[in-house]
Subunit: 197 residues, 2 copies
């Protein structure tokens, strides 16, 4: 009587499968083609099967976004860890690089995390993981600006890096600038701005 394992009934656990299929679809196809029915197709079930695990498509996407935030927190955490022995400015720079990289490599999920479809209040997991991401950045900022100015300064950091990510993925940057140079210079200017009173 294996009560400890909670992998039930006939189709393995579909819930997990749907999340994986959704993440995969968001990596492989243009976002407009990622429908609930397409995800069900990829999971090998009927189009109505997801209803028993997610109340709506927005709910499914919300959970994918929550997972995205977890990966995001890990990516920022690794960058912070690796630059542990550097100055606070350099650590922030490293985290900024990790941020841009994550947004680039996971652009569809990133779009979900910061877009209009998924609302922050959807799920406790979402609220929690996004809060973690925020406070992680705020801590790193506090080491540069001091705790007092950290909340507002963190907003500046986030705006700058988020804005660059979005402009890049939407191809709204002028064509004549080197993308790599832009990223490095933007991070530099952003951090320089932090030091002002």
């Amino acid at each position: 009587m294996p009560t400890a394992t909670q992998k039930p009934y006939h189709h393995g656990d579909l819930r997990e499968h749907l999340l994986l299929a959704g993440e995969q679809a968001l990596l492989e196809m243009p976002i407009d083609d990622v429908s609930l029915r397409e995800i069900a197709r990829r999971a090998g079930v009927s189009h109505a099967a997801p209803k028993h695990h997610f109340a709506s498509m927005a709910d499914l996407l919300g959970e994918i976004a929550a997972r995205g935030f977890q990966k995001f927190v890990n990516a920022l955490g690794s960058a912070a860890e690796e630059s542990k022995r550097q100055t606070a400015e350099d650590r922030l720079h490293a985290m900024g690089r990790a941020y841009l990289r994550f947004a680039d490599e996971n652009s569809a999920v990133y779009g979900l995390m910061f877009g209009q479809v998924v609302k922050m209040s959807m799920t406790p997991a979402l609220t929690k993981s996004s809060y973690e991401a925020w406070s992680q950045l705020e801590n790193a900022v506090a080491q540069v600006t001091g705790a007092l100015r950290a909340p507002i300064a963190a907003t500046h950091v986030w705006s700058s890096v988020h804005g660059l990510s979005m402009l890049k993925s939407a191809r709204r940057l002028p064509p004549h600038v080197s993308l790599h140079a832009v990223e490095e210079d933007n991070l530099r200017m952003m951090i320089a701005g932090l030091k002002e009173a």
Copy 2:
């Protein structure tokens, strides 16, 4: 024989009507409810009528985005004009304020202008008006940083202000910060960052 006026045939000119109806819809209802059929409904025509004026819905939205860019250029231009006699920094600050205000008051159209649905290459009007917006900002930045650093510095300005707009409209800013204070402080930090070499 009025050949000069090009207002033809039976329904007045529907093309203009559709654009206005679309803009109105984007102001009045949640963006997911703004469909091609809804816009046609508002214009009082059948759902297939738009086909003769716009090849696809993305095309219609593209033209709305192009008009948005024109209004956007005007808004930035007015701000620049009004702060003509101030310092270059203050003028940039004023333009930043105008930027944030435009994004706030026209959030749906702004989302179109910088989102994934509309592609920059869709229409000459779009390419042109977005280029105008860009060079307008770059000129203002050049007066602060010098022409040499203007392109990269303008990217920083744009990223920062765009990022803040998006975070605000997607409700991703932490709830405990005053939105007005955040905007002013962000603009200050952004401009301070520009002055670094």
